[in-house]
């Protein structure tokens, strides 16, 4: 099982699509590792730099509604994975992206807006970190000397995929 948690990258906008996460022109790359430099290349947000230290150090992404909409490209979770980001926390996800994350053994966690608003209050904390405990279903936010925990739920199937490290071996044994 992957470990989840660490420095946080805040992306404060709804409907961030998979073209913004990894543009189509890079879908010709043959290995996941080759995608690494192009993470979030086409995302335009005030103060956001896809090549900046916040992106490089991030282990968790926090965003708003309908994260990962658009193309089905699993290159979107992969470009996160090769950059060390293995969890995305948002108010809601597009279906295909959400399943792609779990199928890769990574986590796409939904939280109510009120919880996310509290988490986004740390958006300017340079030392903001988030730890994710999949088994216990808890998130712990640290920043600016404060600690706050949140409960979350993922489906039993998605939890099993995370614990198994993905869907392929699981399915080959069972079906």
């Amino acid at each position: 099982m992957k470990t989840f948690g660490g420095p946080v990258l805040f992306l404060d906008r709804s409907d961030i699509n998979t073209d913004e996460i990894i543009p189509a022109k890079y879908l010709t790359e043959i290995t996941k590792e080759d995608l690494k430099p192009y993470i979030l290349e086409d995302l335009k947000l005030p103060g956001f730099n896809p090549n900046g230290p916040k992106t490089k150090n991030a282990r968790v992404i926090i965003s708003r509604t309908n994260f990962g909409c658009g193309s089905s490209r699993e290159h979107a979770p992969w470009v996160f994975e090769v950059n060390g980001i293995t969890a995305v926390i948002a108010e809601s996800f597009a279906r295909i992206f959400r399943q792609n994350m779990f199928n890769c053994g990574m986590a796409a966690i939904e939280l109510p807006k009120a919880d996310l608003d509290q988490i986004f209050s740390h958006a300017n904390d340079e030392d903001a970190t988030m730890s994710v405990d999949i088994e216990a279903g808890t998130l712990t936010m640290n920043g600016n000397g404060k600690t706050k925990s949140f409960r979350f739920e993922i489906s039993p199937f998605d939890k099993a995929l995370v614990l198994a490290g993905g869907w392929v071996d699981y399915a080959d044994q069972k079906y």
Binding site: T28, I30, S72, E74, P77, F157, A171, D172, Y175
Partner: protein, 427 residues
């Protein structure tokens, strides 16, 4: 209590429910293209699982970048081609026979009512036009589909769209679906099937129904679904006449997949199209729509007619009807990509290709290329395209470029005027 179409399909294909809320379904068709499949093939080889569950149920095409533009895309094509040969996948479509997947596979009769269909492509929802459950998935789900012929889903709820009225002149399926997405938003149907009903859908051709279902994903929908009827049977008849004694017998069989009258819906949304105008996107999300009256005069650089949304013969006929005897405005360039070789041949036979070429259009081979900014019509920074495709994301058709989504009719009228223009005055 009755069932919706997707509930019937789920029940008929259920393998098991490994965990509450997750259903594993048996698949009738696993569709593959050269962008998302090679990595699945590579991973299967690495896991020592280079097998396919049933080569007759796997269909593959090279369509996104074809002919290959460089070594990387040639390698992707080669991985798919070699794999299809190795596993004796007969329904593999290479250069000369290849076209945009969501136009080509239906045209070959591969999709039938009641089917479960997956593909590593978000616009797989197109195939729901046949009364199938058709969902885009990622490479890992595709890999398991290829290996085992199953896929896991959360059972989606269903939203019923009752589309009534009569389509006004110059208003088409594309305008209807853009209007619907504008109404419910880009996540208005997440984890939902969009089931289309009503007199307007009943009178649509299969091509129009595919346009309607194609953009279900732009509202977050898992699949679009239309109700199988005699129009479905007529379209499929060349492929199914050996299976049924008559068209009526086929209709009777396919009707088992129609939603029950007492099916329970998450929501029912009434759409009356009587006053609908040609509808166009204006921003960087498909739910940002306005009418042609509001956007007329918007400057353009390129016109693109093609794609899995609107690159079919019906679309080419509508655009050619408007373009006939006209030239592209001098400030714009035009690109036509018929979606499949059969469409290209029919359009040539009908004289449509001549009309496009005399208007000054470049006619390309069938490919997805420009729609997602991979090849054959990429925009420069700051350029604007009037396009019959399905996504207007920032940079979708090339970094810094902007896309206005519209019907083939509106794109043709805009080609003549060089700015967004109303097609109704040309009809």
């Amino acid at each position: 209590m009755g069932k919706t179409t997707s509930e019937k399909i789920f029940d008929a294909h259920l393998v098991n429910e490994p965990f509450p809320g997750t259903k594993v379904l048996r698949l009738d068709a696993v569709l593959c293209h050269e962008i998302t499949t090679p990595i699945a093939i590579d991973d299967l080889i690495r896991r020592n699982k280079d097998r396919v569950f049933d080569p007759t149920k796997i269909k593959a095409v090279i369509d996104h970048v074809t002919p290959s533009k460089d070594t990387k895309t040639a390698t992707q094509a080669k991985i798919l081609r070699d794999w299809a040969r190795r596993h004796e996948i007969k329904d593999f479509f290479d250069i000369g026979a290849n076209g945009v997947c969501h136009a080509l596979f239906p045209e070959r009769g591969f999709i039938r009512p009641g089917y479960t269909v997956i593909m590593g492509d978000s616009h797989t929802c197109t195939h729901g036009a046949f009364g199938a459950f058709a969902a885009g998935i990622g490479t890992t789900d595709l890999e398991v589909g290829i290996l085992k012929g199953v896929c896991a889903f959360r059972q989606p709820k269903t939203i019923k769209f009752n589309v009534t009225g009569t389509l006004p002149k110059g208003v088409y399926a594309k305008d209807v679906i853009l209007h619907i997405i504008g109404k419910i938003g880009v996540n208005g149907a997440t984890d939902r099937v969009m089931e289309f009903h009503g007199a307007v859908v009943d009178s649509m051709t299969m091509e129009s129904r595919m346009t309607l279902c194609n953009m279900a994903i732009e509202a977050g929908g898992t699949s679009g679904i239309c109700q199988p009827d005699m129009t479905t049977v007529e379209y499929l008849w060349p492929f199914i006449q050996g299976e049924f004694a008559s068209k009526e017998a086929a209709l009777a069989d396919y009707s088992q997949w129609r939603a029950d009258a007492d099916a329970e819906y998450d929501q029912t949304i009434e759409i009356n199209v009587a006053a609908l105008e040609p509808t166009i996107t204006f921003g960087y999300k498909p739910d940002q729509v306005k009418t042609v009256s509001e956007l007329a005069g918007t400057p353009l650089d390129q016109i693109y007619i093609g794609s899995c949304t609107n690159g079919r013969l019906e679309d080419l006929r509508i655009a050619a009807q408007i373009l006939k005897g006209h030239r592209l405005a001098p400030n714009v360039r035009g690109i036509l990509s018929p979606a499949t070789p059969a469409i290209f041949k029919d359009a040539t036979r009908e004289g449509l290709i001549d009309i496009f070429m005399e208007a000054g259009f470049c006619v390309t081979n069938p490919t997805c290329g420009a729609c997602l900014g991979m090849s054959n019509g990429v925009l420069a920074d700051g350029e604007v395209c009037a396009s019959t495709t399905n996504r207007n994301f920032m940079g979708r058709m090339g970094k810094g470029g902007m896309v206005h989504l519209m019907s083939p009719a509106t794109a043709a009228a805009s080609a003549i005027e060089g700015v967004i223009a109303d097609p109704r005055k040309y009809l």
